[in-house]
């Protein structure tokens, strides 16, 4: 059996990937309405005071996706002139799906509330003991976030490799640095509004 799950960029057609990636992106923006989380870059979510408006969720989604896609597309073109925009777009859309965990964990501001309670009780050891289960819960969530980052890394590499036929180690190193740099840049960009 072909492994669709491990190699989506090999076995799915571009229209299927695009439709799937865009739909899940839209769903994530809708779920985000119930959170107090703003995704200000592919790899960074921040806690906000109020539930973010839908327009802002969509704007964040588009800007974080497009900045990464443009950067990877230009780099992809430099590696291989045959690189197509659609393949890079699909790569970013699919790779960021595991990162929606940020949003899902904060449904009904779940993680935000727990974090605030623990932070408030940090100076008081007696109260800290009462938060034991919540601390474990947040630790597990932190572990899952780490896992989602690894899965993101796996998919973005698979997608970019398929889109550009990437082979050289030097290109792989630049690829990793580029993602981290653009992610940092996006954080500044989304902070402008």
């Amino acid at each position: 059996m072909k492994n669709y799950f491990l190699k989506p960029f090999t076995y799915f057609q571009e229209k299927q990937l695009l439709l799937f990636g865009l739909s899940l992106g839209l769903i994530s923006c809708i779920i985000q309405l119930t959170t107090t989380t703003r995704v200000i870059a592919l790899l960074k979510a921040i806690i906000t005071e109020e539930n973010p408006p839908f327009v802002q969720n969509i704007a964040d989604f588009i800007i974080t996706t497009i900045t990464m896609v443009l950067a990877l597309f230009i780099f992809g073109k430099m590696i291989n002139a045959k690189t197509r925009f659609i393949d890079i777009l699909n790569t970013v859309l699919i790779a960021r799906i595991p990162l929606y965990l940020f949003i899902i964990g904060d449904i009904n501001s779940f993680i935000t509330k727990k974090t605030k309670v623990i932070l408030d009780s940090i100076s008081n050891p007696d109260e800290m003991a009462n938060q034991f289960i919540d601390i474990i819960l947040l630790t597990v969530f932190g572990f899952l976030v780490l896992l989602s980052l690894i899965i993101f890394g796996y998919y973005i590499y698979q997608g970019f490799k398929t889109a550009t036929h990437l082979k050289k180690t030097s290109h792989i190193i630049i690829f990793v640095i580029l993602i981290l740099f653009i992610d940092f840049l996006t954080r500044l960009l989304t902070n402008l509004y």
Binding site: Y11, F12, Q13, E14, T162, H165
Partner: protein, 93 residues
């Protein structure tokens, strides 16, 4: 003398490239000896030869090939690029 065995392209003993030293006529059993190189396309792996044939039958449309083979367009394109590289290497040998 009809055989359907695949033509071996590399020596099973030392992995070096094989070449043809004898050809035989099916009807009168005349044999010709000499040193003949295998045609370039015959030197490709079986998988590569199948790919070339498919590519030809789809009139060179990678998009159609991708859809028929149930793999993505860039995957087919990358396979083709690897083969082009392989054939260029064979040409320079």
């Amino acid at each position: 003398m009809k055989t359907k065995h695949k033509l071996p392209t590399h020596c099973p003993s030392c992995i070096n490239k094989l070449h043809v030293t004898q050809l035989a006529c099916e009807s009168c059993e005349t044999t010709v000896g000499g040193q003949f190189n295998l045609p370039l396309l015959s030197q490709l792996t079986q998988e590569e030869q199948d790919f070339v044939l498919q590519f030809f039958l789809y009139s060179g449309s990678l998009k159609q090939m991708a859809q028929q083979m149930n793999i993505s367009y860039p995957t087919v394109r990358n396979k083709l690029d690897d083969m082009i590289e392989h054939i260029k290497k064979l040409q320079n040998l």
